[in-house]
Amino acid sequence: MAQLFKEKFLEVIKSITPLVIVVCVLQFTVVDAPTPLFVQFLIGSLMAIVGLMIFFLGIDIGILPMGKFIGAELPKRESLMLIGGLAFSLGFATTIAEPDVLVLSRQVDAISQGSISGNVVLFAMALGVGLFVAVSMLRIVFGFSMVYLLTAVYAVVLILSFFTPAEFVPLAYDAGSVTTGALTAPVVISLALGLSSVLSGRSSISDGFGLLGFASVGPIIAIMILGILGY
């Protein structure tokens, strides 16, 4: 535990301090923000550093093992319904709960002047993430190649880009980043690693990773379709 703590301490210091130092340099050269704001920046940075240490520690002893245990348990029941259903509900629930998604759905509501309601957007994005998480979990089970799958979905995104009303394009691409809440990444990555570790003949790298990124395409497509239909 002490060793782990020391390791995390060093990692966090190495990760955050460079940015803090550069911001300080900028403050004294070009920015010259009011002193209270700068002090607030320093306090906030300290909070972020301490917080991140505790967070990383918790991820290592709690979240990663949790994800791996659940992922490894899934195939034992030999039920595709269970794997697909769990993946779908996990993706759907985390998206509905993500505060960024709420903000984004209100923006779509505003840009479309109410013709596409925020709730529809929220639902469509959650559906997008849920479906894509389920597809990529099942991909791991069936051992289907990532190349075909990705080529297909990126091609769809590219084609839809040309038909999506211009105001929706930045929103749609931004929607891809909703699958990236600080907690989603470790949960999803460890779940997929756990799942691929118990299936025979799977590469822990090419099958264990990719799920998170693939899931982020779901909401992009969802918003584009809404934008096209809404006009």
């Binding site: 990760s15 955050i16 460079p18 940015l19 900028l26 010259d32 923000a33 209270p36 704001l37 607030q40 920046f41 306090i43 906030g44 940075s45 909070m47 972020a48 301490v50 917080g51 240490m53 967070f55 990383f56 520690l57 918790g58 991820i59 709690g62 979240i63 093992p65 659940i70 996990l90 985390t94 993500e98 923006q107 990532m146 190349v147 990705l150 990126y154 091609a155 590219l158 105001e167 930045p170 691409y173 931004d174 891809g176 980043s177 990236t180 809440g181 600080a182 907690l183 990444a185 470790p186 590469s203 790298i205 090419s206 099958d207 990773f209 990719g210 799920l211 998170l212 990124g213 982020s216």
Partner: protein
């Protein structure tokens, strides 16, 4: 703003941590009862870790919110008034690199890659590839704000390159690349770089700042997919030559 406000937006931060943790903890407990049946000690350790995660996440997100959100905006506004606008590019590059360097999920991904590959793909390789990719695209994003380049002029060639590289890249790097695109737009980028872009575009006038800011996030999501997969193509090329 003339006073220090540490508690700004705290209810929101609490809410976002709670909504992230509770469904997960609930799912885990259900799994534990019905299927996993881990020994009590392991179960309790995981729950303790979950509590630590929540406390750490709360402190981290709140710190980022009060430090990097207002200051990102202040830096952006100051930079937007610089006379030599070309300076925005190297600064964007530098800040893009360092923000990603501090992004928690990027590190978690890099660590997990090293662990899962038993060390054959080093964590620093992943970390540098992601950071350099984001750095280039944030630099490009600054150029886009200054010269008002439409977002699709970058995204369409970008994703086309991604589709092409898929067919030439080492398979393992494809999966890592796609995940890297997902983790690069974490809380650091979403607050600091977003606020930076909003600050720059608001002090320069022109397009509505919100559109510019969103555009930058889209570029940050694309960047590491390209840089990590480019690395995958190089590795595949070297492998092919050896055979």
């Amino acid at each position: 703003m003339n006073e220090i406000n540490i508690l700004d937006g705290l209810p929101n931060t609490i809410l976002s941590v709670a909504t992230a943790v509770f469904p997960l903890a609930f799912l885990f407990i259900i799994f534990q009862i019905l299927m996993l049946k881990l020994p009590l000690r392991a179960f309790v350790t995981i729950l303790k870790g979950t509590v630590l995660t929540s406390v750490g996440l709360l402190l981290f997100l709140q710190g980022v919110h009060i430090a990097f959100l207002p200051f990102g905006r202040a830096i952006g506004e100051a930079l937007g008034t610089l006379s030599g606008r070309w300076q925005l590019m190297p600064l964007g590059f530098l800040l893009g690199f360092l923000t990603t360097w501090g992004e928690p999920s990027v590190r978690i991904l890099a660590n997990q890659v090293e662990e899962a590959s038993s060390g054959s793909i080093r964590r620093s390789t992943v970390l540098y590839a992601v950071c350099v990719g984001v750095a280039f695209f944030v630099g490009l994003g600054m150029l886009r704000i200054v010269y008002d380049i439409p977002l699709l002029y970058i995204l369409i060639p970008g994703y086309t390159i991604v589709i092409l590289m898929l067919w030439f890249s080492d398979k393992e790097f494809i999966s890592i690349a796609v995940d890297a695109g997902g983790v690069a737009t974490g809380p650091m980028a979403n607050t600091f770089l977003l606020a930076l872009a909003l600050g720059i575009s608001s002090s320069m006038g022109g397009q509505p700042p919100i559109i510019q800011g969103l555009g930058l996030v889209a570029l940050i999501a694309l960047a590491p997919i390209i840089s990590v997969m480019a690395l995958g193509c190089i590795i595949q090329f070297k492998k092919d030559r050896k055979e």
